[in-house]
Symmetry: C2
Subunit: 206 residues, 2 copies
DNA sequence: GTCATATGTAAGTAACTACTTACATACCTC
DNA sequence: GAGGTATGTAAGTAGTTACTTACATATGAC
């Protein structure tokens, strides 16, 4: 068994890319095998069926929420700087998982349970970490009173929509030309300071 | 030509629903015709091919951005109340267009140009209106200085992600039990007032 | 009543797809 | 060199799909 593991992985990689481009039905076993540099027969010998290959593809992704690892570093920063680091990290990890994100979007109906599970691992886990971050800062009175869970949803939602619009819908590479930092900074500013003017005149106008 | 228009519309409606459930490849012409209550042959007589039916499906959606119509009403409200109305209206119109939203998500790769066009009409048009709203209030000093375009992206992004998570990923009906108003209120509060505590102590902590 | 229009029934076709079977070959281990 | 393991070649199968052809039927307009 020299390179059997490598073969299996190459097939899964090819499948991940192809399914993310053409969808589960559009990605044929023949083309997946061809892109992996193996025969169709080899694909079936490894996975038995297309469906099981797809399950393996979904199952291989494990999201040790990387955010957890950078939180110590974040805790040493100011609130705004911390959010900046979190925001950029989140977007970069979305970018790394882009094929999987696309599969999640297209294949929710085809494989609801597994896809939702992935979604949970990817988004909800991150949200939990962020929620605790907010709650901690609220105790220290750095942050005002608000629902930390909804706030985490809001912050990640802004970023996720940004990612989907630019990378997936428009096909733009957000990592080029320092756009990422600049845009995140703008979003963080809004999230930290809100939009109302500071003099408390937020009641009525006209 | 008694009910020829009705037939064509029924086919498009059936196709919209089926494609949103199973994707373009997963929705067979036979099942579409069956759901529309016609023969497969009738479908092909009307549209010539599955591809052209799909184009018709996408083309039929016209988004007179309904937000534009409610803006006069919004202008009479306070900033927060205005955002509340805008937010709820946006979510409700997403909910109405849910099948189309799902198609947009799944079929970006299959039909990039047309789908992007729809996306623009649906999201970007709304964003423009919101951007002008912000810019107007900034002139009146009701709002502080910030990039109105990114702010519009942020606000709609929060709402869109909320919609996608609850309605599409989790299959929850957001219109039930007053959840909609309550959640929008929470998001609006965050967007208006931000998250930092009011006493300006937003520099450092620990 | 004739004619055009819209739809139906029935049968079929060519292409493709996931998957299989039978047999051969290369490589590694012992 | 014997045998196990991973892969390849070649051919094929059963099912499905988009789409077609030929013929019949109903309906409304004039």
């Amino acid at each position: 068994m020299t390179n059997t593991v490598a073969t299996k992985d190459r097939i899964i990689d090819a499948a991940t890319l192809l399914v993310s481009e053409k969808g589960y039905l559009g990605a044929t076993t023949r083309e997946i095998a061809s892109r992996a540099g193996v025969t169709e027969l080899t694909l079936f010998r490894h996975f038995g069926s297309k469906e099981r290959l797809f399950e393996a593809l979904l199952g291989r992704q494990m999201f040790l929420p990387r955010l957890k690892e950078i939180m110590p570093k974040v805790d040493a920063l100011s609130y705004e700087e911390g959010l900046q680091v979190i925001g950029e990290g989140f977007l970069l990890s979305l970018k790394e998982r882009k094929p999987l994100i696309k599969i999640m979007h297209s294949e929710v109906n085809h494989y609801p349970d597994k896809v939702r599970k992935i979604y949970n691992q990817l988004i909800d886990a991150t949200r939990e970490v962020l929620k605790d971050y907010f709650a901690g800062l609220q105790k220290k009175k750095v942050l005002r009173a608000f629902g930390p869970d909804m706030a985490a949803k809001a912050f990640l939602g802004m970023l996720f929509s940004y990612f989907r619009t630019e990378e997936i819908m428009r096909g733009v590479d957000i990592t080029r030309g320092g756009r990422l930092s600049r845009d995140v900074r703008e979003l963080v500013d809004l999230f930290v300071n809100g939009t109302a003017s500071r003099n408390g005149a937020k009641r009525r106008h006209s």
